[in-house]
Symmetry: C2
Subunit: 203 residues, 2 copies
């Protein structure tokens, strides 16, 4: 009788491990925490365009800015005028965690640039501007070996398009990011938590 119980015991342990490591049951929380959610990875169309990732507005917002322009304004801004369009930049949570650990943007990092009208704060505020209507365009900056000599590519999504074409390597954004960005083609100088991470690594 004792021997009969040893046998079922060994088999059940083996079978338990088989089930836990097979695809028949959902993977453990440990494995889940170390994998990258599919919707936070770049997905391409057959012709090499990028699909808009879903729910990018829930990613880590690494920096907001207002009124960014690469051209000198035609006229001096009027006193009290709106500071210009808001820009928010979002990064995948897994890529942010990796960057905070290593100080390096991992392959497949995506930075989503989105735009919002600057709306005047009304009651109860007496001054200030908030994010009004979202401009339907977004741009995505993707790190991918070999995609361009800088190792990064820009994709433009116009008027709410679900797919964005790659901007040609001759576009000025490539050369400007390559020479002006503080760290690996990314304007980390404008992103508080990334900037702090890089500064702390130097000391």
């Amino acid at each position: 009788m004792f021997r009969l119980w040893i046998l079922p015991g060994s088999i059940s342990v083996l079978m338990t491990f088989f089930l836990l490591t097979s695809d028949l049951f959902p993977r453990s929380a440990f494995a889940q925490a170390n994998s990258i959610p599919a919707d936070q990875l770049p997905q391409f169309t057959p012709d090499g365009s990028l699909r808009e990732p879903s729910n990018w507005e829930t990613w880590v917002m690494v920096g907001a800015s207002t009124g960014l322009s690469y051209n000198a304004p035609a006229a001096a801004p009027a006193a009290g005028a709106a500071p210009g369009t808001f820009h928010n930049v979002y990064m995948q949570p897994w890529a942010y965690r990796e960057f905070m650990k290593t100080g390096v943007f991992p392959e497949r990092t995506m930075l989503v640039l989105s735009f919002f009208d600057a709306s005047r704060k009304s009651a109860p505020a007496k001054a200030g501007f908030y994010e009004g209507d979202r401009v339907p365009d977004i741009d995505i900056h993707l790190k991918r070996k070999g995609i361009d000599q800088t190792g990064w590519a820009f994709f433009g999504f116009t008027d709410g398009a679900a797919v964005g074409g790659k901007l040609p390597s001759s576009a000025s954004c490539y050369s400007c990011h390559a020479t002006e960005a503080a760290h690996d083609n990314v304007f980390t100088q404008f992103y508080p938590f990334l900037r702090t991470r890089l500064a702390s690594a130097r000391h």
Copy 2:
């Protein structure tokens, strides 16, 4: 012999289910996805102060604004002057998902208000402002039944303190949020994705 194999089979199935449902093994991905990470829930000190949640900067940033003030400015702003301090508001990812599903802020929702100096964009930009040094203060707005007659409380974290005291219910923020906020004591009118969610529910 056949009967001997039936017995181990039943026992191993039973034991497998016991192990999968017990705390001896990590919970399945399914259970994990439906539970709330502990660091996204309010944690209190014995005297009822709130502990600063870790990594709130990775939560969903629901809205940025600049130069918000409840007082009329003493002097008209100068032309080209900085638009004022940036305010970013962050919300727990699970609470955001819940709100997008139901249009209701779940109990234990926290909104973290953080502040950044407005720094002038330098090269390559010709105009604009970005988020400079973070002001070490944060405020947290917490939804919790019974904590105040509005169902929400404010906690102030000064100078990087890890613990924030509850502001008294007589503080003006309570009455102002109660009367001026577009939805359940929250200024959803200033938060693009929450605002859109609420507008879509009306149609």
